[in-house]
Symmetry: C2
Amino acid sequence: MDNSQALAACGPFSSAERDAVYRAIYTRRDTRSQFSPEPVPDEVLARILLAGHHAPSVGFMQPWNFVVLRSLATRRKVQALFREANEEAAAMFPAERQASYRALKLEGIVEAPVNLCITCDPDRAGPVVLGRTHDKAMDSYSTVCAVQNIWLAARAEGIGVGWVSIIDPAKLRAMLGIPDRVIPIAYLCLGYVHEAYVRPELEVKGWRRRLPPEDVLNFEGWGQAGANEPLLALMRQGMEDGPVRPSPCGMS
Amino acid sequence: MDNSQALAACGPFSSAERDAVYRAIYTRRDTRSQFSPEPVPDEVLARILLAGHHAPSVGFMQPWNFVVLRSLATRRKVQALFREANEEAAAMFPAERQASYRALKLEGIVEAPVNLCITCDPDRAGPVVLGRTHDKAMDSYSTVCAVQNIWLAARAEGIGVGWVSIIDPAKLRAMLGIPDRVIPIAYLCLGYVHEAYVRPELEVKGWRRRLPPEDVLNFEGWGQAGANEPLLALMRQGMEDGPVRPSPCGMS
């Protein structure tokens, strides 16, 4: 192949385009209760799935599969798996947190017209995969990159996504006939939304707060040696202002 | 809290905004050789890191840390770790693939002015985490969502990102002083790029091809029962046309 045609000039987005990317990132929510029953057209679902299929993957292995579930009967069975797991989950919390845990609505499996199980096939590119040789989890991580692409593309399409992780993966695998070698990574609920939380629902409901930047930022190594105060100050300011402050929804 | 203020009207993006999100998704590349040495200003790095910090996370635990590395001495030491691992990796491939493996440039650790080690702290929110009760990997997956947000935000800023996974994670942890409980998830190289591959570099160089949609799509369960031909056809068409076909780079 002529590599001179493989490269193209490349630069930053226009500020309007850049703001749109940040808007998707900042207004993306984990949706559980706001799904509209209106169907998601195949044209829209195809765009969202292709966004997932164009995620980065280790050694270009593309280990993902997208299992599209529209059948109400199947979604009801998955919801039963969620309920079983959620009872087990509630019992694991300290006594004083169980009531607030049980008060949260954590899934919209039946309300959302499209469910999507995204899996990782470790055998997709043979036993030795470029880039997976020193971290066996790299194929799962690639699959999660596809999930995040799907989540952001869906946001741009006006479609909310909820990730339901309170399900026994082995039982889900058996129910959907997924081979033993294949790992269910994410179970997503998708549907149009007409309103959304401005901040994460778990923050609004007092479960946990957003961490300040000094809790997540390190410089030149773990011990904060050579702390970069200007960068920290900019991040603090960005969190106060919102680095991009579009109306969270609505047309701009 | 007054929940009536917590929700806001919500809809699809304008078509220009939507195209910008898809443009970021489709023109994002794993960058190894195109880094410019020009420094990345703190203002830009702060926006990119905040995009990571606004990723979804299981139980809103925000398990990530972002270790910013600019020191050339540290980056040279990390590059030595890469070289050691890459020799081991090359030897794992079948004899007939070793030459083409060795011909690939797989990192830009020293050329990229900013490196970023993104880690996952499983203890960030106590032993029982909402949503992690039935899949222990959910905290790592949340961290990968932060990586993908960073990758897309960087693309919008004109900054290329390369994910270097061919490093022994235990040696990287020791070098950066990361506590034993904390998992290094991604080691990223960041820098401005002025040209980029139109298609993934591993595809251009003949390592692997993009899979057709029928290889990654399933309906109502693993066995393709109830195959949705219209959706498959739309995905095939989208892959031929490119669902969004902006100039891959350059100002729009």
